[in-house]
Amino acid sequence: MSELLLKAENITKTFPGVKALDKVNFDLRAGEVHVLFGENGAGKSTLTKVLAGSYLPDEGAIYLRGQKMAFRNPYDARSRGVSAVYQEFSLVPKLTVVENLFLGRELTKRGFLDKEAMLKQARESLDDLGFDLDPMAKVGGLKRAERQMVEITKAFQGKMSVLILDEPTASLSDKEVIRLFELIVRLKGEGVGIIYISHRIDELKKVGDRISVLRDGRNVATLDMAEADEEKLISLMTGRDYEEIFPVIETTPGKVVLEVQNLATATGLHDISFQVRQGEILGIAGLVGAGKSRVGRALYGLEKITGGTVIMEGYAVEEPTPITSLKLGVMYFPADRHKEGLVLCRSVRENQTLAALPLFEKKGFIDLKREESTVRGIVKKMNVRPGRIHGAINNLSGGNQQKVMLSRGLTREVKLFIFDEASCGIDVGAKREVYLFLKEQAEKGAAVIFISSELTEVLHLSHNIVVMHAGTVAKSMPGLGATEEDVLSACFGYDYQNICNNGNGSRTGGSVAKSIEG
């Protein structure tokens, strides 16, 4: 067994209202890839941030090569060989690639910046990693994948013993992914220990040596990769079986509610066609940046539509706005409930009825009694806790906030729901309730568009699946029988690997997916 590189003992980290990490133990050996696995909010990112010096743990100790460490900040950690590449970028958009790479540790000559030396070094590191990037380009003008390359290059500079990669493949193309994996192999050979976060089980199996599963801030298991299969990982991750989390949603598709033909937007979506029927859930999957969110936004009127037709119940929608969309019975729930969903300083009650206030009016005034009784009914039904309807909503937990936002759909008649990342950042219990909400709406006959980055939920909830890649529909398939591999291949925009043929078809028994060219 190789040398123990990094060891974290009993790490506890509390944020206001949440125990993000609860006595977590974790270790990393030289030359291994140790995967962190868990749901959003399980504490993976918090743990890596503690290890890389961004957060100070409340309790616990970190040992690097047996020596106790207390990193004051990420620079401190980096100078001791611990580097991290996060999902959110730590780049300054207005600066160039070189300036970003050397931010905070600029090379100087006689007190002035030594631009030539920095440019030369930057070129070398980019070439070394095989990234085709202009070091003089402004980061703000780069594509998401390119920014990720800069981020990775930044971490790879200098001497390194521990590298943390948080969802590194989220926006890379297939070629870039292969190159990244080659790099990882090379670094392992050099004795670097890598902490790797990803949701993609097949990808983990390829690169990982060991895997730790986090749930609700606790390390529930650390296994050798060989022992870990999908079903086991999922049940460890969620603490339940599939069937317990994902309700079975019956469908008897009715008439077509929404028909989209060759939709194009000013933000780069093109040739998008699909339809949704009454009582049907259409899942939209895709990598970050593939455009799945933009589809929902465009349909609701938040992005300019430049081409194609959108037909809502036989009525051609020209230039939708949130106001006209709501009138047509379309309701959209944004991915970022804090930024776009809720008015955090206002009460549960006001947030809930915000999109339906005119319906509560009597002679120009709001009928407060009727409003209150409606809100109380919904709060009870959606199991929002605490059930006080006059308290400001920012005192509620994420899951309860999400439920309040979704319950707007119960205050007025909705024919088409568009959910964007509806289960993002909430705990399993709340997720289950969100899914039940979805189920109820669909079974009552509403059409549902369910946009999500979590593959498992798209696979389990959707009656039809549309996979987005590079701003367009890469593949459409029926939800029943679709496997993770089918969807992933389409996500990456190429035939990922024909696993379905040689694998035993995991839980759904092989692929019956039919590919329709988008």
Partner: protein
Amino acid sequence: MDLLKRIFVKVGVLPFLLVALVILFSLAEHRFMSMSNLLNVGRQTTYLAIVTAGQMLTILCAGFDLSVGSSVALTSIVTSMVMVSVADPTTAMVLGILAGIGTATLVGLANGITIAVFRVSPFVVTLGMLSVAHGLALLISSGVPIFNMPEQLNTILGLGRVWGIPVPVLVALAIVALIWLLLSRTRVGRYFYALGGNREAARLSGIAVRKYTALAYVLCGTLTGITGVMLTARVASGEPNLGANLPLESIAAAVIGGVSLRGGEGSIIGAIFGAILIVTIRNGMDLMNISSYLQMVVMGCLLIFAVVMDQFRLSMKGR
């Protein structure tokens, strides 16, 4: 101690200040607590209270209006010039009042459209309008006050009483009641709070964000116009320099009264108590013979203090 903290987090620094000041002034100056002085405070408060009610609406929508003072001056000039040019006193008064309030409403409309439709910051727009409106008032009046207005204006609107209550106080009470209804019982009020609290969330909820933002400034303009007319009636002349303190005092009153400058939070009752506090301070300082220059210093400090407290309150709330 815990109770005090809860009061602070809930309603802000206002109750503490008000209690402290009343004690301070009544100890320092025996005339302060006299009935006639308290009535005086009440009457003086009315003007600031109406402007503060308007100011509050724009602050709820995460903006503010620096042009309220100039708008009062412009209203005063327009009202008095119209009144002077019409012979029949009753017609003159009606036309003058309508013209004055109309002018201020137009100023508000211009503010509102520029801010809401072109998305220019309220700071820049209303700062510009401050200069525009004051400039216009000086231009039209050549910088000199306008006299010879119908006497009834002063005797009724300025000094008149109904059921023993001064007319300005009645007008202010009616306006406060209306604004209270608007904010707590109509969709307009809810939308003001919502779009001030989170503009994007309001937009996604199908609220015509631009329309309602503009409406807040229009209403602020109208209320400012009413104040302008009433002040003109009080001083019985058209004054191109009326209301210079109002922007600062109305913003300070609202913020001290718990209306958050970030938008989306605050009540009309709090804002009115804020106005009462400011008038009380002014009155107390007058009685204590504190120079008006020093009073300016105090008012400025008070505004800054109120905002600091607001920020502090936010951080306590977060915990």
